[in-house]
């Protein structure tokens, strides 16, 4: 029969709140960094995918396809286990002495694996979002900029890009929330300093599974809400036109 003898002990969970909030900061840090990296690479991928150079198109296509059509967890795995494997291969074949460079080829820190993995995922998703956004900026804008003497890079950077970011601002906010929630896969590569990692350690010590994870979920929820609210504020401030 069902065992319904579980009694809630919220006090323990609430006492651990400061610890969990510290974890939440790490979560937020990973998400923000992975977004910044993802946005930069995403713009480049969006351009590469529409490039005239076939190699660039292929590269962008593969990145975007993998990022969007495989589980985020696998992507983090690929980084966590894949990068050391590749480095070992390089060391073996080319005889590069990574140790001298201060790089341990047998182990990648889980923090970096999660950060790079999620940045990879963000870049793939954002690239497609950006491609759509770029289509929303009429080509006559570039033409007008070029006719004023702007070179190709400047007319893209100063005229097209700001308008694109307005068009994609809300999907970008979604991606940010998604990035925050995705950091929880870090637990599978041993990340124990983010919100999920900290919660899991507390759980392992106390077995107050429900309380701790319910509290963690609430914290995730609040962070996500603060991010969307903040984004709305930024949009209101930035896009006055």
């Amino acid at each position: 029969m069902f065992n319904i003898n579980y009694t809630f002990h919220w006090n323990q969970a609430f006492r651990a709140l400061p610890q969990m909030l510290e974890g939440a900061l790490v979560t937020l840090q990973i998400a923000v960094l992975s977004m910044v990296i993802g946005i930069v690479i995403g713009v480049l991928l969006a351009l590469a995918k529409d490039s005239r150079v076939a190699a660039l198109r292929w590269f962008a296509n593969i990145w975007i396809e993998v990022a969007r059509n495989t589980p985020a967890l696998f992507q983090v795995y690929m980084i966590y286990f894949g990068i050391p494997a590749v480095l070992q291969l390089v060391a073996g074949v080319f005889g590069v002495n990574f140790r001298a460079l201060g790089i341990n080829i047998f182990y990648l820190d889980s923090y970096w694996a999660v950060l790079v993995g999620i940045a990879f995922n963000n870049a793939g998703y954002l690239a497609e979002t950006f491609r759509g956004g770029l289509r929303a900026v009429p080509p006559t804008q570039t033409r007008a900029a070029r006719s004023l003497g702007f070179n190709a890079v400047d007319s893209f950077r100063l005229i097209v890009l700001p308008q694109m970011f307005r068009a994609v601002f809300h999907p970008m906010t979604n991606q940010m929330v998604w990035a925050i929630l995705m950091t929880s896969v870090g637990i599978f590569v041993g990340l124990n300093i983010d919100l999920t990692g900290v919660t899991q350690e507390l759980n392992a010590r106390t077995f107050r599974t429900f309380e701790f994870f319910a509290l963690a979920a609430a914290i995730y929820y609040v962070i996500a809400k603060i991010v969307t609210g903040g984004a709305r504020l930024i949009a209101w401030r930035l896009f006055r036109y």
Partner: protein, 240 residues
């Protein structure tokens, strides 16, 4: 001086310019008239190198526009162009629209750029709209802003590509007035237009384009009062 020598250009199988030759002297205002698809706008795009050409050549102050080594970005600073679509930069205020190229292309300081831009914006009657975004302007105001933006770069030449075609009729006058003012100040201008009264009044010469060729070119008096070619007469009859 702008020299256009036997310029040909095709878009795919469609030959848009079939051998255009024309010279525009300093201080001259040349209007280009003709039906749509006759190659008028394409020719303007070729003059500042926004469009490549297939053969012939275009010289602006002796510089061959489509030669390999030509620095188009530099050349374009001398050639202002205003388009049919208003092409205001929507994310920038009127003042920023007008200063951005001054600052980022010519490398002027903010205060220097502001001074130039404000002078030009006042010139076209937008002195009270500096902090406004283009979405708050009428089509006529946006078009005048585009003119000020081009003028701020102190170009030697101004090209106008049917700048009043997308405007409501009551807004056409203010834009034409601005162009009239410019012509009276001695600006060298090539004006592609459907405004026949304007072409007649302001131009030194009028060129009638037909099927990718200059069918007839001459003084406004000649073109409008005694055209030599029957097609010119027929076209004018259809639009006047």
């Amino acid at each position: 001086m702008i020299e256009i020598e036997n310029v040909k250009k095709s878009f795919g199988n469609l030959e848009v310019l079939k051998g255009i030759s024309m010279t525009v002297e300093k201080g001259e205002v040349v209007s280009v008239i003709g039906g749509s698809g006759s190659g008028k706008s394409t020719m303007l795009m070729c003059i500042n190198g926004l469009e490549p050409i297939d053969s012939g050549r275009i010289l602006v102050d002796g510089t061959e526009v489509h030669a390999k080594g030509t620095d188009l970005n530099k050349l374009r600073r001398n050639i202002g162009i205003v388009f049919q679509q208003w092409n205001a930069f929507p994310h920038l205020t009127v003042l920023e629209n007008t200063t951005i190229a001054l600052r980022k292309v010519l490398g002027k300081s903010r205060s220097e750029a502001d001074e130039i831009a404000i002078k030009q914006l006042k010139h076209v009657g937008l002195g009270d709209k500096l902090k406004v975004y283009p979405s708050r302007l009428s089509g006529g105001q946006q078009q005048r802003m585009a003119i000020a933006r081009a003028l701020a770069m102190s170009p030697k030449y101004m090209l106008f590509d049917e700048v009043t075609s997308a405007l409501d009729p009551q807004l056409v006058g203010e834009v034409l007035d601005t162009m009239r003012l410019l012509a009276s100040e001695g600006m060298t201008m090539i004006v592609v237009t459907h405004e026949m009264a304007f072409a007649r009044e302001v131009s030194n010469r009028v060129a009638f384009f037909r099927d990718g060729l200059i069918h007839e070119i001459g003084s406004p008096k000649q073109i409008f009062e005694s055209p030599e070619r029957p097609e010119t007469a027929a076209f004018l009859k259809s639009v006047l």
